[in-house]
C-alpha cells in the first residue's frame, strides 16, 4: 500500500516497502508497511498508541532493540549527489542497512526534548561534536561561528549565551529548536519527527511546527512526521498514512484522506474529535443559585531553589462552581492549574484565602501551619475531613496509576463506601453493580484487576469510584489526555450524560482546548498563577479579551475535514448539523 504508484516517478526521496518488525513472543508490531516520501514534501504517519508508528520510525534508522526482528522488501533513498531539491531521477539508491541513513541522509528530531540532550554537556559542545563528526571541523572558533548561525536560523534568542548553557537551563521549546538545529548539521535530506511537539505547550507546539515548515521550504527538505494527532497531521502534511495495529489502513494526500476517508477507522478518528460532541445547552444556574464549591482569593507559594525567592504558584484566585456546572481551568504548564486543583481538593493547603463548600468555609483549607506527608486536614477532626471527602472527589489524569493494582475492581470502587462506613457488604456490592452500570461497564469487570483493563475502562472505573459517595463536585484532572482519541470521545460523552443525570458539578483542568470547548460552561484562563481571563466558554473562545488567551487559541490546529465540525473560530458548535448515533 504505497501512497501512490506514480511516486516511483522522479522526485521520490525515500521508498520503503514491506517493513516488518516483530518482538519475540509477540505479534508483529509492524506488518508489511510501505511508505513513500516525495522530495520536498511532508508526510505524516498517524496512529494511536500501539499502532506501530514509532517502531516504523525506529526501524527506518536501525534503532530497534537487538531482540526485535526487522525485515523489509526494499528500502531506497535518494542521497542527491550534490544537487539540491528536485534531484534528477536515478538518484534513488537501494539501501541494505538502514544505519547508513543515520545523520547524513536522515535527521531525527525526537519526541522528548527534555531528555534528548546529554545533561553534562554545554550546548556548544553538542554542536562541536557533530561539526567534528560530519564536517571534520576541529577549529573551535569556526564551530562557534557556525553554531551561532544555526541557532539563529532556528530562532533561538541570544545564541552566544546559549552556547555556554547546559540543557537543563533551557526551556522545552528552546531545546526542541536546538534539537532541530542539531539534526540539520549533517545536512540530511529528510527530517524524521517523532511526535516532536507532544511534550510541549500548545503555543510552543505551534511555533515549533511552523519552524519545521520554514526549514523544509528554505532547505528543500522532506519531513516524515509521526503523530497521534490527526488534526496536527492534517494541518501540516501533504500526505497522510493512517496506521492501526501495525498496518496501514489508508494513505493518500491530506485532502483526499480528510475530505473523503475510505477506511472506517479513519472516519472514526475524524468523527471522534471533541468538537463533534453534542452541544451543551447554555448553562443556567438554578434559582436561587446553588454554589457548591467556592474559592476566595486562594494563594499558595512554594520555596524556590536555595537562595531564590518563593514562587507564587497560585495568586488570589477565586472561582465559583454551581450545581450541575462545568468550569474549566486552562493555561500552559506552570500556570498554576495543578496547584489550584490540589488546593480545591484539600491535598494542599493554601497560604491564604478560603475554600467554601456549600457556603461553609472548609476549616483548615487556608492559612495555618505546616504539616507532614500524611497531614491532609490534620488540624481538624476526622468528621470534617470525611465530610469534605464525601462531597468533593478527584479523578486523576492517569487512570492506571490511580487504581491500586492489587485490588479487584469491585473492591476499588467499594473502598470509599468502606472508608465512610456506608452500608453493609451486600448493599455495597449492589452499589458497585449500579455504579458499573452508570459508567457503562459490564458487571463482571468487578472481578478483574486494574492491570487487566484498557485505559478507557480504567478511567471509567476511576469515575465510578469517584461517584460512589454521590459527591456534589468531581474534579477532573486532565481526565482524558492519556487516552486515545476515540476513547476520549466516548468518555467525554459519558461525563456529560452523568452530569445531566446526577446534577454533579465538574471542575475540569485540561490543556486540550478542544476538550474544554466541547464540555465546559465557563473557562478560566490562568497565567503565572493568576487569572488571566474568565467567562462563558463561547465568548472566551470567540472573542478573547487577553492576548495570551488569543495565543493559546491560535495554537489549536484546525482540521480541514468535511466530516468533523472543525473548530472554526467563529461558531459555537451546535448539535443541529450532526448525527451522533453511530458512535461505537
Amino acid at each position: 500500500m504505497s501512497i501512490v504508484e506514480k511516486a516511483a516517478a522522479p522526485g521520490t526521496l525515500l521508498r520503503l516497502e514491506g517493513l516488518r518488525v516483530a518482538y519475540p513472543g509477540g505479534p508483529a508490531a509492524v506488518d508489511g508497511l510501505s511508505v513513500t516520501v516525495p522530495s520536498g514534501s511532508s508526510v505524516a504517519i498517524v496512529g494511536e498508541s500501539g499502532s506501530g508508528k514509532s517502531t516504523t520510525l525506529h526501524a527506518l534508522l536501525g534503532l530497534t532493540p537487538r531482540t526485535a526482528h526487522v525485515s523489509f522488501d526494499r528500502l531506497e533513498f535518494d542521497s542527491g549527489n550534490g544537487s539540491g531539491a528536485g534531484a534528477g531521477a536515478g538518484g534513488l539508491r537501494r539501501i541494505e542497512d538502514p544505519r547508513e541513513l543515520r545523520g547524513r541522509s536522515v535527521g531525527l528530531v525526537p519526541q522528548d526534548p527534555i531528555r534528548s540532550l546529554d545533561p553534562l554537556m554545554r550546548i556548544g559542545a553538542h554542536f562541536a561534536e557533530l561539526h567534528r563528526h560530519f564536517l571534520g571541523l576541529t577549529d573551535r572558533a569556526e564551530s562557534r561561528v557556525r553554531t551561532i548561525a544555526s541557532l539563529e536560523a532556528v530562532g533561538v534568542d541570544r545564541p552566544e549565551l546559549r552556547l555556554r548553557q547546559y540543557p537543563h537551563e533551557l526551556s522545552g521549546g528552546q531545546r526542541q529548536r536546538i534539537l532541530i538545529a542539531l539534526a540539520l548539521i549533517g545536512e540530511p535530506r529528510l527530517l524524521l519527527a517523532d511526535e516532536p511537539t507532544s511534550n510541549l505547550d500548545a503555543t510552543v507546539q505551534r511555533r515549533v511546527l511552523d519552524l519545521f515548515d520554514e526549514v523544509r521550504t528554505a532547505r528543500g527538505l522532506s519531513v516524515l512526521l509521526v503523530t497521534h494527532d490527526i488534526a496536527v497531521a492534517g494541518e501540516r502534511a501533504d500526505h497522510l498514512v493512517v496506521m492501526r495495529a501495525g498496518r496501514v489502513v489508508e494513505s493518500g494526500t491530506a485532502d483526499e484522506v480528510l475530505g473523503d476517508p475510505k477506511d472506517p477507522y479513519t472516519r472514526q478518528l475524524l468523527t471522534s474529535l471533541p468538537s463533534a460532541l453534542p452541544a451543551r445547552p447554555a448553562f443556567r444556574a438554578e434559582s436561587p443559585p446553588r454554589v457548591v464549591l467556592e474559592a476566595r482569593d486562594l494563594t499558595k507559594s512554594f520555596a524556590g531553589g536555595r537562595g531564590q525567592e518563593r514562587v507564587d504558584a497560585v495568586r488570589e484566585v477565586s472561582l465559583t462552581l454551581h450545581r450541575g456546572q462545568t468550569v474549566a481551568v486552562v493555561g500552559e504548564s506552570g500556570a498554576g492549574k495543578s496547584t489550584l486543583l490540589r488546593l480545591l481538593t484539600g491535598l494542599e493547603r493554601a497560604d491564604s484565602g478560603a475554600v467554601l463548600l456549600d457556603g461553609d468555609e472548609v476549616r483548615g483549607s487556608g492559612g495555618g501551619g505546616g504539616g507532614g506527608g500524611g497531614g491532609r486536614f490534620d488540624r481538624f477532626g476526622r468528621k470534617a475531613r470525611a465530610d469534605f471527602a464525601r462531597r468533593v472527589q478527584l479523578v486523576y489524569q492517569n487512570p492506571a496509576r490511580s487504581l491500586n493494582p492489587s485490588l479487584p475492581v469491585g473492591r476499588v470502587i467499594a473502598e470509599p463506601l468502606e472508608a465512610h462506613r456506608v452500608g453493609g457488604a451486600r448493599s455495597r456490592a449492589e452499589r458497585v453493580r449500579e455504579l458499573l452500570e452508570q459508567v457503562e461497564l459490564p458487571a463482571d469487570i468487578a472481578e478483574r484487576r486494574p492491570g487487566q483493563l484498557s485505559g478507557g475502562q480504567a478511567q471509567r472505573v476511576a469515575i465510578a469510584r469517584a461517584l460512589a459517595l454521590e459527591p456534589e463536585v468531581v474534579v477532573l484532572d486532565e481526565p482524558v489526555s492519556a487516552l486515545d482519541q476515540a476513547v476520549q470521545f466516548a468518555l467525554l460523552r459519558l461525563l456529560g450524560e452523568l452530569q445531566q443525570r446526577l446534577g454533579i458539578a465538574y471542575l475540569l483542568v485540561s490543556h486540550d482546548l478542544g476538550v474544554v470547548r466541547a464540555v465546559a460552561d465557563e473557562v478560566i484562563v490562568m497565567h503565572r498563577g493568576r487569572v488571566e481571563e474568565r467567562g462563558a466558554t463561547g465568548s472566551v473562545f470567540t472573542a478573547p479579551a487577553s492576548p495570551r488567551t488569543r495565543a493559546l487559541l491560535d495554537a489549536v490546529p484546525v482540521l480541514k475535514s468535511s466530516l468533523s465540525l472543525s473548530s472554526s473560530a467563529s461558531s459555537v458548535p451546535s448539535a443541529s448539523s450532526h448525527d451522533r448515533t453511530s458512535q461505537p
Binding site: 534503532l63 544505519r99 561534536e129 563528526h133 541570544r158 552566544e160 549533517g186 537562595g307
Partner: protein, 342 residues
C-alpha cells in the same frame, strides 16, 4: 570540550541571582563541613557508650589475661587499676574527659599492653595504608575495565556472561577467597610468600584478596549505571545522528554513568579499610585491621575507640570531598545546594 571564555559574554545570570548563588554555595560548603563534624562526633559517642556502658568489665578481663600466669589479683589491685584508667569516675565525666583528651590528640594508653595508643597505632598503620593503597590500585581499574567491557553491547552474549561475574565474586566469603588464593599461589604454585613478609611481592596477593570483593560491588553498580544511561533518549538520538558507537559509549554513556559512581568513593575506601581486618588476619600481616581484631577480642577499649574515630574521620573526609566535588562535576546540581547524591 570546554569552550574558551568569550570576551563579550552577556551576563549568564543576573548579578542579583549569582550573588544569591554564591551565598548558597557558601552555605552548602558550611553545611557539608558541619555534617562532617556531626558524623565524627556521633561515631565517638556511639563507640564510647558501646565500649564503656555495656555490661562487660574490661578491667576484670584485662587482669584475667595479664595475670594468667601469676595467680589471681586482689581487690586492691583492681581498684588501683580502675583509678589509674579513670574507670572509677561516673560515665558522663569520663565521656567528656575522653573527648577532651582525643581533641588534644591524646587517646590514652592501651589496657592490654599499657603502651600509649598513638605508639601502637603508629607502628602498624603504614602496613595497612600500603595494603589499602594496593587494594584500591587494583580494585578501581579492574572494576572500570570489567564494567566497560560488560556493558559495551546490551543483550550480547558477552554482556549476559560478564554481568554475572560480580554477583559470583560477591557470594564468595572474603576470608575464604584469601585462603584459596594463598593455597593456590603460595603453597601449590609457590609464586608468593605464604605469610607475613615485607616488600612488594608480599603485598600483591593480599592486595588482590582485598580488591576482589570491593571490585565486585563497584562493578555491579557501574554496570547498572552504564546499562541505565544507554537507555536514555539522548543516547538513542546520538546513535540516530550516525556517531560511531565507540564515541557515544565513551564520551556520553561512560561519562554520565561515572558520575554517580564518584559518590561511591566513600564506600569504596571504607570497604577497603575494613577489608583489611579480614585480609590481615588471613595473611598474618601486622596492621590496623589485625590490631582492631585482637583489641576487640581483649576489649581493649582505648585502642578500639581510637581506631573507630580514626576510621570515621577518614570515611567522613572522603565523603566530604565527594560532596564538595560533585556540584563541579554535575552542572545540574550547581546553584541548588541540595544534597549531592543522586
Amino acid at each position: 570540550m570546554r569552550l574558551p571564555p568569550h570576551p563579550d559574554r552577556p551576563g549568564t545570570t543576573s548579578p542579583k541571582l549569582s550573588a544569591a548563588a554564591r551565598a548558597s554555595t557558601v552555605a552548602y560548603v558550611l553545611r557539608r563541613c558541619g555534617y562532617f563534624v556531626v558524623v565524627v562526633f556521633s561515631v565517638y559517642t556511639l563507640s564510647f557508650f558501646l565500649l564503656y556502658a555495656l555490661p562487660s568489665d574490661p578491667v576484670a578481663l584485662m587482669l584475667e589475661r595479664r595475670s594468667a600466669g601469676a595467680g589471681g589479683s586482689t581487690s586492691e589491685q583492681v581498684e588501683a587499676l580502675r583509678a589509674q584508667y579513670g574507670l572509677d569516675q561516673p560515665l558522663l565525666v569520663r565521656y567528656i574527659e575522653t573527648l577532651g583528651q582525643l581533641l588534644s590528640g591524646d587517646p590514652g594508653t592501651s589496657f592490654q599492653s599499657g603502651r600509649p595508643v598513638p605508639e601502637i597505632i603508629g607502628a602498624v598503620a603504614p602496613n595497612t595504608l600500603g595494603l589499602a593503597a594496593g587494594g584500591l590500585v587494583i580494585a578501581i581499574p579492574l572494576s572500570l575495565a570489567l564494567a566497560l567491557a560488560t556493558s559495551w553491547r546490551q543483550g550480547s552474549a558477552l554482556h549476559r556472561m560478564l554481568v554475572n561475574v560480580p554477583a559470583l565474586v560477591a557470594a564468595v566469603p572474603a576470608f575464604w577467597l584469601g585462603l584459596l588464593l594463598l593455597q593456590l599461589f603460595s603453597f601449590t604454585l609457590g609464586w608468593a610468600p605464604s605469610a607475613g613478609g615485607t616488600g612488594l611481592s608480599a603485598l600483591v596477593l593480599p592486595s588482590v584478596a582485598l580488591a576482589l570483593p570491593v571490585s565486585a560491588s563497584l562493578t555491579a553498580v557501574l554496570v547498572r549505571g552504564l546499562d541505565d544511561v544507554q537507555r536514555a533518549d539522548f543516547v538513542e538520538l546520538l546513535r540516530a545522528r550516525g556517531l560511531p558507537w565507540r564515541r557515544v559509549y565513551l564520551a556520553h554513556v561512560a561519562r554520565n554513568a561515572l558520575l554517580p559512581f564518584v559518590t561511591l568513593a566513600g564506600l569504596t575506601v571504607g570497604g577497603v579499610l575494613v577489608g583489611t581486618v579480614i585480609t590481615e588476619t588471613v595473611f598474618a600481616r601486622a596492621g590496623l585491621g589485625r590490631l582492631l581484631a585482637s583489641s576487640v577480642e581483649t576489649q581493649d577499649a582505648p585502642v578500639i575507640l581510637a581506631i573507630a574515630v580514626l576510621a570515621a574521620v577518614l570515611f567522613a573526609a572522603v565523603n566530604l570531598a565527594v560532596d564538595l566535588l560533585y556540584p563541579i562535576l554535575d552542572p545540574r546540581t550547581r546553584h541548588r545546594g541540595s544534597g549531592a547524591r543522586a
